[in-house]
């Protein structure tokens, strides 16, 4: 994906797709209000402190917890794999597809699989892929990436989905949301019964018990992980929790932060492949622990807390910038505040040069993050790193600005000049303010500066 692009993409989204702004604003405000209510029902601040501390602790001993999880999983008959990067993960998947002769895959919603570009790989291997989360299925039909961590299709209005389903699935032009869901279900039911492999992500993995934990609202992940003969769980190495009892709070925090629910409708705790006396479940369970840049984030003094993220999407919902454009403008798998922080760390620091400024530093995200990631501080830290690479004009502007502001006499003089020049130029007082002023018509300076008023009115008074 392009290093540059947020600016242009955001402008395009605003100019050409005003309906996105409307759909996203409505959906995120709704989510955000639900979160606020659900946080209000519990001792949210204490939970957040505890969750943040638990995550911090886990990350500080991640290697130990990963080995513990591997041991438990293996003991129950799961096969554990380690992938250093996307290529590595793709190699493992390719091998598994070949090993089991898979022609069809059903997938539960997984941001990590987006990161690893799993669908593209499977298609190249001639394997049919079905996204089974309804939102994810919609954007798969539309040929788009997800635009939100939790609600992949929240940027789409009902009309657009109707038209899409009509074209792809032959539903009537005035189909109700229920009819649309039913049409998708008919296709997916067939897929569940015939797929040779189910691929999921993981919300958490418990080290103590080697349990893969999946949270959802539709029941599709449950089918994805139990109907096909083979289940592959793709797990970011940061998803570890030390003990099973930690789930009590994390499951509630996740659901409350994401959608305002007390807990997800379906919570699956997977401990291994089907045992001889069990009626269902896959014959083979593969857990792929994926790094893909995470260890370098972990090693970054200013950014490591970002790995505490439980992908609840609350920071996206609270973000007034995200609301205007939706997630596609960011041009990356992860959008919104957490996307700005994670993407340059996972992929390429230079990505921060544009993404880092897709934020007004309003700090609304910090208020809602259930694990207290200091998102605004981290976004700013990326800016500090980017500033050295900023265009020469920008650096020069800030240098002369600082020079002006540390010389009171010149500062005073420049204020005078501003007032003199205003009628002539429309007064972009600072070079950096010029572009801003353009969106407002002329910025008019006060007829007298405060300094002048002070001298006339207050001095000696």
């Amino acid at each position: 994906m392009a290093v540059k692009g947020y600016k242009a993409a955001a402008r395009r989204a605003l100019e050409q797709q005003p309906e996105v702004r409307e759909a996203v604003t409505r959906a995120t405000l709704h989510f955000d209000q639900n979160r606020e209510r659900a946080f209000g029902e519990v001792e949210a601040e204490a939970w957040r402190d505890w969750a943040a501390a638990t995550k911090r602790h886990t990350l500080s001993r991640l290697d130990g917890y990963l080995l513990e999880a591997e041991q438990r999983l293996s003991a129950r008959g799961a096969e554990v794999h380690w992938a250093e990067d996307a290529e590595d993960a793709q190699r493992i998947l390719r091998e598994l597809v070949g090993r089991y002769g898979v022609r069809r895959v059903v997938k539960g919603k997984s941001m990590l699989s987006e990161e690893l570009e799993v669908n593209g790989l499977l298609e190249r291997l001639g394997v049919e892929v079905f996204e089974t989360d309804l939102g994810e299925y919609i954007i798969q039909l539309a040929g788009e990436p997800p635009s939100h961590i939790v609600g992949p299709a929240i940027h789409k209005g009902l009309e657009e989905i109707r038209a899409l389903f009509r074209e792809k699935l032959g539903t009537p032009p005035d189909a109700s949301p229920e009819e649309l869901a039913a049409a998708a279900r008919r296709v997916l039911r067939e897929a569940f019964l015939t797929a040779g492999m189910g691929i999921s992500g993981a919300n958490f993995v418990v080290a103590e018990t080697g349990t893969v934990v999946l949270v959802e609202n539709e029941g599709n992940i449950r089918l994805t992980t139990s109907a096909p003969k083979v289940h592959v769980a793709l797990v970011g190495i940061e998803k570890l929790l030390p003990r099973a009892c930690d789930l009590e709070v994390f499951l509630q925090l996740l659901a409350r932060a994401a959608t305002g629910q007390k807990i997800g409708t379906f919570v699956s705790l997977i401990n291994g492949p089907r045992r001889p006396d069990e009626p269902d479940g896959p014959e083979h369970l593969h857990v792929v622990f994926v790094d893909n840049g995470r260890t370098s984030v972990l090693a970054d003094r200013e950014m490591h807390e970002a790995l505490s993220c439980i992908r609840c999407g609350a920071c996206l919902n609270a973000c007034p910038v995200y609301r205007q454009t939706g997630g596609h403008a960011y041009g990356q798998v992860y959008s919104g505040p957490i996307g700005i922080v994670l993407t340059p760390g996972l992929k390429d620091p230079a990505l921060a040069d544009e993404l880092g400024y897709a934020c007004s530093l309003c700090t609304a995200c910090a208020d809602v993050c259930p694990v207290r990631i200091p998102l605004p501080k981290q976004i700013l830290a990326w800016r500090v790193r980017s500033a050295g690479r900023a265009p020469a004009t920008e650096r020069a502007a800030f240098r002369s600005y600082a020079a002006l502001m540390t010389r009171p006499r010149f500062y005073k003089l420049s204020g005078k000049l501003l007032r003199l020049a205003a009628p002539l130029t429309g007064a972009p007082w600072l070079p950096v303010l010029g572009a801003w002023a353009a969106g407002h018509g002329a910025l008019e300076p006060s007829p007298k500066s405060f300094r002048e008023i002070w001298e006339e009115e207050f001095e000696g008074a």
Binding site: V321, Y357, S360, A364, V384, E394, H440, G441, E444
Partner: protein, 241 residues
């Protein structure tokens, strides 16, 4: 009590009358106000843009200017946040400067916060009776300084009706360098605020930068709602009784 007024560069040049109203009000309430002439800008534009070397120079200058003041009062929540919360971060590797920054942080107050918390004002006067007001919670004032109720209390004590506003807590879209680098998004955010403003006589805030942004946008769109800094409204409240 030596109260030093830090007008802030934006207020000095772009809403000087509101800043003067702040001083008039402080004096009327019995504070002895001084104006250290060497003051310039707190450095926040450079800080937010990531140009920390420049921000450091300005922050150091500000430290020197306000040495020896018991209190530093600003008609801007955003610049107060720079002194209170951000400036110390700039000097984490520089012990004397860091301590000076913390010291200044402890003495710095946003205007309304100062009126309520230090001068213990419950009311500044009743002169806003019958006025319908929409209050914009600037992000820094409300989230970083935790000043949320104070301005509403003073406005209501002055007789104004603070009308509920769906987007009153949302960012106006200014964000300094953000408005420059991503102007279309910034303006869309201002529009969201302006589109949801209820029927009121005046739109106000404790943050002049937000108001400048909103007022500029409102003007360009031909919207009629008057925009005034809370310092001016409170001064009016005082003068009107």
């Amino acid at each position: 009590m030596r109260v030093c007024f830090f007008v802030t560069c934006l207020a000095d040049q772009f809403f000087a009358e509101a800043a003067a109203d702040a001083v008039r009000l402080l004096r009327a309430l019995g504070a002895e106000v001084r104006f250290p002439r060497a003051q310039t800008c707190c450095g926040q534009p450079a800080y937010n843009a990531g140009h920390w070397d420049e921000a450091r120079k300005m922050a150091a200058h500000t430290q020197e200017v306000f040495e020896g003041c018991d209190y530093v009062v600003l008609p801007s929540g955003s610049c107060t946040t720079m002194l209170r919360a951000y400036s110390p971060r700039l000097f984490e590797g520089d012990r004397p400067r860091y301590e000076a920054a913390l010291d200044l942080a402890g003495r710095s107050y946003e205007l309304v916060e100062f009126l309520v918390k230090v001068l213990n004002a419950e009311s500044v006067g009743r002169g806003l009776a019958g006025r319908r007001v929409a209050y914009h919670h600037g992000c820094h004032v409300s989230r970083e300084l935790g000043v949320k109720e104070e301005p509403l209390r003073l406005l209501e004590a002055a007789g104004a009706e603070v009308v509920p506003w769906e987007a009153d807590q949302e960012c106006c879209g200014f964000g300094g360098v953000f408005a420059v680098k991503n102007a279309p998004v910034s303006l869309a955010m201002a529009d969201r605020k302006l589109d949801t403003v209820p029927e009121v006589d005046v739109l106000t805030s404790a943050d002049g930068a937000c108001l400048l942004h909103l007022a500029g946008r409102a003007k360009q769109r031909g919207l009629g709602v008057p925009v005034r800094h809370v310092a001016s409204l409170l001064w009016e409240a005082h003068r009107g009784g």
